[in-house]
């Protein structure tokens, strides 16, 4: 057993948890809760430990060869700065959401099935992040997607089924585009390993193949990450799911399936040219503005949050599309921050729903006095998402805007500022109608939600407040290593292949 054995554990633990939960969950009471709690805690601990191991690894990269086959022949798992960053984000949110679900899911029947699907979704995301093989990425993307289709429909009410159907159809079309793209790449390069493919592609002349494949992947992963021309499923699917799942979907799923895969393929395999970056920036800016404008007119708490997810993903893509070190740093930092505060907001909306039974902002009001913890954490999250200093959202947005100015893209910088102001406006509405003002008669006797739901909200709010500290030099390695991987571009190939040869 050496250090490297930690890598496959990120897939084995959630998979074993899922199988066990579905096997014993029905017979032994509360066993599924215990299994999921232990497994998600273990995953979170292991992801931090992996970060610790990575610091001491040579070249800051670890490669695990499955079945002992050398990379172009077998499948390998790669743990580098970027995947470690994503692993920590995913498992952090997954742990808190799992704790929250312990009480929240009491409203629904058949908890063991919920936890099985939840665990499979985490397994799919972890597998996607650590894999080093293009087809394997597709397989794990499908695991995470199918689990999320089923989870969106978990309440089996008419709206949920309809949203899930829409999501499943659009998601499957996206997968089909991705699959065709992989087929083109396989035919052209005759290999599936990502590092090997990057090596082959950089030595091969072509005119149309790579741009065409790029467009296919942009459509596929753009659909998965809900960039604006492809966003139609998100405002239905995210509100329909149970609140804890909305937090997972908005918080990490669209980022892992969409943004991470897009970054990995465009920067590390195909090699990002100015053309791709310009397209990414344009889509990011459009999403940023369109999402927030659509959000302004919403009265359903969760639907409003869902539109804000589109807008915030726009910031992430804009930052990464800039292609400068500062822009990528801002984009990744915003990705992490958005995971934290958007999950927190969805958990808040779930708490409001749990206590009052409604999500309509016109009906609620004055909840601040009866649910003090929910109201305060929601205030923190709202200020974060609107970019008020000193919360974490301010720092990442500021970095993105500065990076825009630095590169001379004043138009995009102004877009980002306008988006931020509109975000503030729409969250002031949430504060006013949900938590301030007069309380309605029928909600006089509601109580604060149970402890297991409060604990994750408080923890996430604390991360929101102190998230800005990640920028001080002694903690920055967490972000800097991820940025370094992206900036390395297609020389990713030689790094991975060398590490594998050892």
């Amino acid at each position: 057993m050496n250090n490297i054995t930690i890598i496959p554990l990120f897939v084995i633990i959630p998979l074993a948890a899922a199988f066990l939960t579905s096997l014993v969950g029905k017979f032994i009471k509360r066993s599924s809760e215990t299994i999921i709690f232990i497994s998600s805690l273990a995953l979170f601990a292991f992801s931090l430990y992996a970060r610790f191991l990575l610091n001491s690894a040579a070249g800051k990269i670890m490669v695990y060869k499955i079945g002992g086959w050398m990379p172009p022949f077998g499948i390998c798992m790669v743990l580098d700065g970027l995947s470690c960053f994503m692993l920590i984000t995913v498992n952090l949110i997954a742990f808190f959401v799992a704790v929250y679900s312990l009480s929240y899911m009491e409203q629904y029947t058949d908890k063991p099935k919920f936890f099985t699907l939840f665990s499979l979704m985490v397994c799919g995301m972890n597998g996607l992040i650590i894999t080093g093989d293009l087809f394997n990425l597709f397989v794990f993307l499908e695991i995470a997607s199918i689990a999320s289709y089923a989870l969106v429909a978990f309440g089996t009410e008419a709206e949920e089924l309809e949203a899930s159907f829409k999501y499943a159809i659009m998601g499957s079309v996206a997968s089909a585009f991705i699959f065709i793209g992989i087929a083109f790449l396989y035919s052209f390069a005759s290999t599936l390993n990502m590092a090997d493919m990057a090596r082959v592609l950089s030595n091969k002349q072509n005119e149309w193949v790579i741009p065409f494949v790029g467009v296919l992947f942009l459509m596929g992963f753009g659909l998965k990450s809900a960039l604006v021309p492809f966003h139609a499923w998100l405002p239905d699917a995210h509100p329909a799911a149970p609140a804890s799942i909305s937090a997972m979907l908005s918080g990490v799923l669209i980022k892992t399936l969409g943004v991470y895969s897009l970054i990995r393929i465009f920067f590390n395999i195909i090699g990002a040219t100015q053309g791709y970056l310009a397209v990414l920036m344009f889509l990011g800016a459009i999403s940023m503005i369109a999402g927030v404008v659509l959000a302004l007119s919403q009265w359903d708490f969760k639907r409003l949050l869902a539109y804000h997810s589109i807008s915030q993903i726009g910031y992430v893509i804009l930052g990464i599309g800039l292609g400068t070190p500062l822009g990528i740093l801002g984009g990744l930092f915003h990705l992490f921050n958005h995971s934290v505060f958007k999950s927190l907001l969805f958990l808040n909306s779930g708490a409001v729903d749990y206590a009052t039974g409604t999500r309509d902002l016109k009906e609620t009001g004055g909840l601040g006095k009866l649910m003090p913890v929910t109201a305060k954490t929601n205030l923190v999250a709202s200020m974060s998402i609107a970019g008020i200093p000193p919360f974490n959202g301010f720092f990442s947005k500021a970095i993105i805007i500065i990076a825009c100015l630095e590169k001379g893209n004043f138009g995009y910088a102004i877009c980002a500022v306008i988006g931020s102001i509109l975000t503030l406006a729409s969250f002031m509405k949430v504060q006013k109608f949900a938590f301030l003002g007069e309380i309605k008669d029928k909600f006089k006797n509601i109580k604060e939600v149970p402890f297991t739901m409060l604990f994750p909200m408080v923890c996430l709010a604390v991360i929101c407040i102190f998230g800005g500290l990640m920028l001080i030099p002694s903690f920055r390695f967490f972000l800097d290593d991820a940025v370094a991987v992206i900036l390395k571009g297609t020389s990713y190939a030689s790094v991975v292949l060398e590490a594998a040869a050892k």
Partner: protein
């Protein structure tokens, strides 16, 4: 041809089914076990096994098939099959690596060759066979419970 899920189809269909369903099941098992020697394998064989149960159910009605394998049992068996495959994968850790094929490879062209491949095929076969049957059962039972 009335297709009534409670009582099944006519006598002719039932008689033919009684003759063929065992053969179909046997063929599925053959395909699973010979996955490393001939076309087929755990997945195709598993679907054939599932189809033999579906066949039984369409001909004789729901109750006869459910008497042989119920929905709960199907879903438990599926979890067990999945666990088995994961265990085969974990077995590789004994030799040092996830999914390492550690058993003796044997002579090619023999039934007992290819190390862990045959174990993987069997576990996938169980998993797929009962899993797909569980899907079918869930869909049909639901329709009748209205």
């Amino acid at each position: 041809m009335r297709n009534n899920p409670e009582t099944g189809m006519t006598l002719i269909v039932k008689t033919i089914t009684r003759l063929t369903v065992g053969l179909i099941l046997l063929f599925g098992i053959y395909i699973i076990l010979h996955g490393h020697l001939s076309p087929g394998g755990g997945f195709a064989g598993g679907v054939i096994v599932a189809l033999s149960f579906v066949h039984l159910m369409l001909a004789f009605g729901k109750d006869v098939a459910v008497a042989r394998i119920s929905k709960n049992m199907a879903s438990n068996l599926e979890s067990i099959g999945a666990m088995m495959f994961l265990l085969v994968a974990l077995l590789g850790f004994l030799g040092g690596s996830f999914f390492l094929n550690i058993l003796a490879k044997g002579n090619p062209f023999n039934l007992f060759s290819a190390g862990t491949i045959i174990l993987s095929n069997i576990s996938i076969g169980i998993k797929v066979g009962v899993g797909l049957f569980a899907i079918f059962l869930a869909l049909v039972v639901l329709e009748k419970s209205k």
